[in-house]
Amino acid sequence: MMVPRRTSMTATTSPGLATGSNLIVLDPTAGKVAESVERAPRLTSLDGKVVGLLDISKPRGDKFLDRLEERLTERGASVLRFAKPTFTKPAPVDLRHEIATSCDAVIEALAD
């Protein structure tokens, strides 16, 4: 059936239509609370650890990471280098998995 349209908000005057007077609205959000994930334990030493360096593929991020690699290697860590295909998209799941399974820690570079 066609329901005639009206702009005011509530109609409560019909004998059968009395309603609560507080305005009810519908939740416009997804109604979900972000899941909190516990961080991995912090490393107490870099000695003998594998540190991943993730280049997000912004210009000159490699320069920043080259320097980090030097400093980390001096301190006894071994370094693995990774790169996202593009900085505009999240890292692909396979890349994230590879980093998680091959490194003790990861540093993501946001250089420009």
């Binding site: 005639p4 009206r6 519908l26 997804a30």
Partner: protein
């Protein structure tokens, strides 16, 4: 509010629906008494269960459930029910009709021959919203949020973080139900997975945000299509939201729907003043904010932003365009209702009040297009050229279509890289030195879109400068707008 979506069953035999506040019902009250004495008849009263006193056991329909569910539009209405199914219906008073319908003679001998009825309370505009919510509100699954008596309903939208900085229309059950009238899709259908939080968004949830944006129900098919297209992997809404750059989704709409819903493709098409343009664009951004969780300062890291990130949507001016519709370039048939999403911002003006030939005009276009992003950068960033009608006329009269214009622009937008290398002209920004000694196109293949819009007067075209184009960033996405039913 409690919802009651179950239609009440009707008793077999004759059924009459009346209200006391109807002179025709008052007139036929004795007739109803005579009929009930002769054949099975149940009478439903919409406003007073003691009316008509001539009939025993009048059924109380002051909740209007029977009247609403059985589409009663006029009182009195007479129905014939057989095994629970309606097999006949007459409205108002007509002696001949009533006698035939009831199989009785001499009904209301003192009454006039005929008299029209009155409007049923179930279609009274005063109650329509409340009835729709009562009887169909259970279609909507979203959580109900009760505002406090002392809360201002507009402030409540700000306080709960639902606003883009402007007031939002409170999404009451009645308003969302009316919005859902704009689509034949089921409220529970999933439209898209909304970044950045990757939440599913249903038709109903998009409708809620469309209400808040100020949309009319007839805009909803455009909003649904825009949401779906924005969340495609090709368009990459996630990256577009997260970038430190200016860009946001720009919606260009083609087809007859633009006229039907009153979109603006003419004067001030990119500006203020048109409800459809602004609220459709706004609805998409509110969906990203409220359903995707994309908020400035959080995942949205734009350094400066752009006013277009509130809403950026317009219609292409197809009537006197020298070009085919933009959507055709995206693979949609000419004339189809469709939209194209472009990751961009702007406008950047192209002033050319002196050119009278396409050869001159296209050079002006190219000069401004070369500066998109930075005059020393090439091949990274897309652009949408909007040709205004006075410029379009020059092209049309010279017989230049879009292919011709694009081909001429391609030639003019080939750039020698030596002056563009980093450091040249005392500017550190520019192309890497390994690209010296080459010629490069300003835009990647497919990275320059062309459309026609604007008012009759003014030799001012525009460039909407874009974001990183292609698989490295965002590809323009064209999608057909589904008919609403």
């Amino acid at each position: 509010m409690n919802h009651d979506s179950t239609p009440p069953a009707l008793p077999d035999g004759l059924v009459a629906i009346v209200k006391r506040d109807c002179p025709t019902c008052e007139l036929v009250a004795p007739v109803l008494g005579a009929i009930s004495a002769a054949v099975p008849l149940r009478v439903y009263s919409q406003d007073d269960p003691t009316f008509p006193h001539e009939v025993a056991d009048v059924i109380d329909d002051t909740a209007l459930s029977m009247s609403w569910h059985h589409d009663i539009e006029t009182v009195p209405t007479l129905l014939r029910i057989s095994e629970g199914i309606e097999t006949g219906r007459i409205v108002g008073w007509s002696r001949r009709q009533w006698q035939d319908f009831c199989g009785l003679d001499d009904l209301g001998p003192d009454l006039p021959e005929m008299r029209p009825g009155c409007g049923s309370l179930s279609v009274d505009p005063t109650y329509a919203d409340a009835l729709a919510v009562r009887f169909t509100g259970s279609r909507m699954q979203s959580r109900r949020i009760e505002l406090a008596q002392l809360e201002d309903e507009i402030e409540a939208g700000f306080d709960r973080g639902w606003s883009d900085g402007l007031p939002v229309v409170p999404p009451t059950e009645a308003r969302v139900l009316r919005m859902l009238d704009g689509t034949s899709r089921s409220p529970g259908d999933v439209v898209a997975i909304i970044p950045p939080n990757l939440n599913e968004a249903t038709v109903e949830q998009v409708a809620i945000n469309a209400v808040m944006a100020g949309c009319k129900p007839e805009y909803l098919p455009v909003v649904l299509t825009a949401v779906e297209a924005a969340c495609s992997s090709a368009f990459n809404m996630h990256g577009l939201l997260a970038t430190t750059y200016f860009s946001g989704p720009v919606i260009v709409v083609n087809g007859a729907i633009t006229g039907r819903i009153g979109m603006n493709s003419g004067g001030n098409a990119l500006g203020q003043g048109n409800r459809a343009n602004l609220t459709i664009g706004r609805a998409l951004q509110l969906v990203v904010r409220n359903l995707g969780g994309g908020r400035p300062g959080e995942v949205d890291m734009s350094a400066l932003g752009s006013p277009g990130k509130l809403a950026f949507c317009f219609a292409e001016r197809e009537t006197d365009s020298p070009f085919g519709p933009l959507a055709s370039d995206g693979g949609v048939a000419d004339g189809a209702d469709a939209l194209t999403l472009f990751a961009g911002q702007g406008p950047t003006p192209i002033i050319d009040q002196l050119s009278r030939t396409p050869e001159s005009l296209v050079r002006s276009f190219a000069a401004v297009l070369r500066s998109v992003g930075h005059p020393k950068l090439a091949h990274g960033f897309d652009a949408l050229l909007i040709v205004c009608p006075e410029h379009g006329r020059i092209l049309r009269e010279a017989g230049w279509d879009k292919d011709r214009l694009r081909s001429e622009l391609s030639d003019l937008l080939m750039m020698d890289t030596d002056p563009l290398v980093r450091g040249v002209d005392g500017i550190d920004e520019g192309l890497p030195s390994r690209l010296a000694g080459k010629r490069l196109p300003k835009f990647r293949d497919g990275g320059l879109l062309i459309a026609h819009a604007g008012g009759d007067a003014g030799m001012f075209s525009a460039v909407l400068t874009g974001w990183v184009g292609g698989h490295m960033g965002s590809d323009p996405v064209t999608a057909v707008i589904e008919p609403w039913r």
